[in-house]
Each structure stands twice: as structure tokens, then as C-alpha cells.
């Protein structure tokens, strides 16, 4: 299977097509509903962001608490469409890739095409399996949000399926 590493610049992803399966290694950031709301508010206010968005990979995930002796708890993807309202803005500011589950809005697909981003899905409801791909985890922002904080994760061979490719083509077909 094809392997890719972060940072995901356009040269690494431009040949990927919706439906391709690959394994990702490198740095990704968790962010879900409330973190997205805060990131969008910070961008609108022109406030410094807690993560560098350029070529970043955001994983829509809120893990369980971390059991003693483990790197991370169960950590599968959450429903991506809830982040749709915030995604075009983040893509415009440099976000390169998103990992989640389920379909995206037309606006998000259009923004992915426009900004040459990419949207992946991973095994949904398989948080225990995916925890095995996480080699390091650290809370880096919005700790007050509990499971919705932004975590920096180092992953190895994290399984992905391309759901919307940089040309805006979707694995779920036309809307």
C-alpha cells in the first residue's frame, strides 16, 4: 500500500484520487466542533492561532481519557459534516488535509478543489484499532475543552481512504 508522510505539500497529494487507500505517517492535529469554532473566531479577529495551519492535517477526533501506561485512549474519527461551516475558511488559510468520516457539503468540496486540499476518511467506529497508530500525543491548545482540545499526534501508518481529492472528486459521488 502507498505510504505518505507529513508535511503534505501539494506535490505529494496532487496525484491522489478519490478511492485511493494509503498509510499516513507524521504529525496531525485533532480538532472537532468547539475547537473549529474557536479557530474560526481567532482567524476572523486576526488573533494568533495555536497551530500552524499551512500544510497542516486536521483529524476530527475527540479521544477518550488516556488509560494509565498508554499513549492515547480510543481515538476514531467523528462526523466530518459538522465541521463543514468552518472548513472553507481554514482551507483558505493553508489547511491542507482533513481526516474524518462521512460526506462533506458542496461548499467544502468546492473549497478543497479551489485550495488544492484533500479529505480523507478512516475506519469509523474503530478507535481502539486506530489508537495503535498513534506514537505520541500531547495537548497543545484549548485544554479547557476536555475531549475537544487540540492534540498534536505523531502517527505511524495511519490508514486512510481518499474521500475528496484535490480535484474535488468525491468517493460518495455527485451531490
Amino acid at each position: 500500500m502507498k505510504r505518505i508522510n507529513t508535511p503534505l505539500d501539494i506535490n505529494k497529494i496532487k496525484s491522489l484520487k478519490a478511492g485511493d487507500e494509503l498509510l499516513l505517517s507524521g504529525t496531525i492535529y485533532t480538532a472537532r466542533d468547539q475547537a473549529h469554532k474557536r479557530l474560526a473566531q481567532a482567524l476572523k479577529k486576526g488573533v494568533h492561532l495555536p497551530i500552524e495551519l499551512k500544510d497542516a492535517v486536521i483529524y476530527y477526533c475527540g479521544p477518550t481519557q488516556t488509560p494509565k501506561g498508554k499513549i492515547i485512549g480510543s481515538c476514531g474519527p467523528t462526523t466530518s459534516s459538522r465541521m463543514d461551516a468552518f472548513t472553507p475558511l481554514l482551507l483558505a488559510r493553508g489547511l491542507k488535509a482533513m481526516i474524518g468520516k462521512g460526506n462533506r457539503s458542496r461548499e467544502v468540496k468546492e473549497a478543497i478543489r479551489k485550495y488544492k486540499g484533500i479529505y480523507f476518511v478512516t475506519y469509523a467506529g474503530c478507535g481502539a484499532l486506530l489508537a495503535g497508530c498513534v506514537k505520541k500525543a500531547k495537548t497543545i491548545a484549548y485544554g479547557d475543552l476536555g475531549p475537544e482540545a487540540i492534540l498534536k499526534l505523531e502517527v505511524k501508518d495511519f490508514p486512510l481512504i481518499v474521500a475528496v481529492d484535490p480535484k474535488g472528486r468525491s468517493i460518495y459521488g455527485k451531490d
Binding site: G62, K101, G102, V121, G127, L145
Partner: protein, 260 residues
């Protein structure tokens, strides 16, 4: 407290059997791979003592209290406390926001408790941790009393199509028909507690067949395994209406019971 561990680490045997059956029957290669990952995930969760899914849900407790039981003390408070202690101890997720509009203060409780008075001298507690990816796809509709059965069937199937790839198919579809708006929704939720088997009423079997023909498949990426089961619970209703409610569960349908 023990139920929080059992429900979140160990997938129900009937659900596992349903998934294995779907895996054997599935012909779509990608769908088969995804079903394999789901089965592997359940095995890893049990072995590593990790939650099957990071969404350890809103803890729903069905308390069936025998009418001969005499309770001294606050049963509801005890249930909430047990759930909270279990969720903390087993490192599950603090997904409950006390400020439902402000979205502040995420914690482990309270869950939702449904109490029922039943015959006998025992108390049966059932914990159903319900993830919100699928709970968000619930639908209810008040049909006209003259509505045809096909309209009702279409509503149920459309609810599954609307959930599409988002709510972690293969699903278990709970349906409540009759009663009132709220009672139909409770029946739909209770239907998820039925043991998954190859059996079902003619209506349930027809709905399952039609849902599996939608081609949604595991993760919504195609295949014949869109739902593992459809269960319908019903109750008499008023001459002026026909409430129907659909409660979808993801493939990680978790529950555990204890009799006290």
C-alpha cells in the same frame, strides 16, 4: 459501575455475530476490508481494555424496578454516581456538557435514566452508551392516521439513507410506532436492546432487505451490509395520529445489563 466497563470494552456477542455474518456474506472487497477492521477493533478493545469507540456516548440507563422491591435511598442518584465513577475509572470519554447551550463543563454525567415498573422483586439495570454520530440521525414524524404502510416504510428507509455514510454503518435500526411522539421515540431506542438474530417479523425482514439494497455499505463506501438488523416496537395509539420514530445505532451497538 461494572456495566460501564462491560458495555464499552466488550462488544455484545450478538452484535459480533451479526458483524461476522455480514463479513462472510459481503462480496464487495472494500466493504469486506472495513468489516474486518471493525471486527479487529472489537478484539483490540477487549484485549487492550480500550473503549470500542471513543464516543462512549451519552450513558442511557433503563431501570426496570420490580413492584415488590422496596428502595431506601435515592436510586436515580445512585445510578448517576455509578455511571460517573465507572466512566472515570475506565478512562472513557467525558462527553456530557452541562451547559447545553454554552457548551461548557464537559463531564461524565448525568446520563439519561428511563425507569419502568415491572412485575417481580428484582431490579434490572441496562446501560446503553449511545454515540451521538448516530443519535444525531434520529428522526420522528407524526403521520396522518390514514397514512399507508408504504409511507411509513419509506420514512424509515429514508431515515437510513439520510444517515448515509455519516453514522458508522452497518447500522442497527430501531423503530417505534404508536403511542405518542415521545413514547414512539422511547420505543425506537428500546428496540436497539433486542438481541440481533436472523429472526424478525415480516415487516422487519422486509425493511432490512430494502435497507441493504440501498448500497450504502460499511462507511458508506458501497456493499450489501448497510444494516445488521431492523427492529420495530409498537404500541396502540390515538385515532387521530400515527407517531413513528427511528433511532439508528452505529455498528458499535453497546449495552450491558445486571439484575439486582
Amino acid at each position: 459501575m461494572e456495566l460501564t466497563r462491560k458495555a464499552n470494552f466488550f462488544l455484545r456477542k450478538d452484535v459480533l455475530a451479526g458483524l461476522r455474518k455480514a463479513y462472510s456474506a459481503e462480496k464487495n472487497k472494500r466493504a469486506k476490508n472495513i468489516l474486518k477492521a471493525i471486527l479487529d477493533n472489537a478484539a483490540i478493545a477487549a484485549k487492550e481494555k480500550l473503549a470500542i469507540c471513543q464516543d462512549t456516548g451519552i450513558p442511557i440507563v433503563f431501570a426496570q424496578v420490580g413492584h415488590e422491591v422496596s428502595i431506601s435511598g435515592d436510586l436515580k442518584a445512585a445510578i448517576h454516581k455509578g455511571v460517573e465513577q465507572g466512566y472515570k475509572k475506565y478512562c472513557l470519554r467525558n462527553s456530557i456538557v452541562a451547559g447545553h447551550l454554552s457548551r461548557e463543563s464537559s463531564g461524565f454525567s448525568p446520563g439519561v435514566i428511563h425507569t419502568d415498573i415491572v412485575k417481580g422483586n428484582k431490579i434490572k439495570l441496562t446501560l446503553l452508551p449511545k454515540g451521538f454520530g448516530c443519535e444525531n440521525k434520529s428522526q420522528s414524524k407524526m403521520f396522518r392516521p390514514t397514512a399507508g404502510i408504504e409511507e411509513v416504510k419509506k420514512f424509515i428507509i429514508d431515515a437510513v439513507k439520510n444517515a448515509g455514510p455519516d453514522a458508522c454503518p452497518p447500522y442497527v435500526v430501531g423503530v417505534g410506532i404508536g403511542g405518542t411522539a415521545d413514547y414512539a421515540a422511547l420505543l425506537a431506542k428500546k428496540a436497539l436492546l433486542r438481541k440481533i438474530s436472523g429472526r424478525g417479523s415480516a415487516l422487519e425482514r422486509e425493511l432490512l432487505r430494502r435497507i441493504n439494497k440501498t448500497g450504502i455499505g460499511p462507511m458508506g463506501l458501497g456493499g450489501a451490509s448497510t444494516a445488521l438488523a431492523v427492529y420495530v416496537e409498537s404500541y396502540p395509539t390515538h385515532i387521530a395520529g400515527l407517531p413513528v420514530s427511528v433511532n439508528i445505532s452505529c455498528h458499535a451497538l453497546r449495552s450491558a445489563s445486571v439484575v439486582l
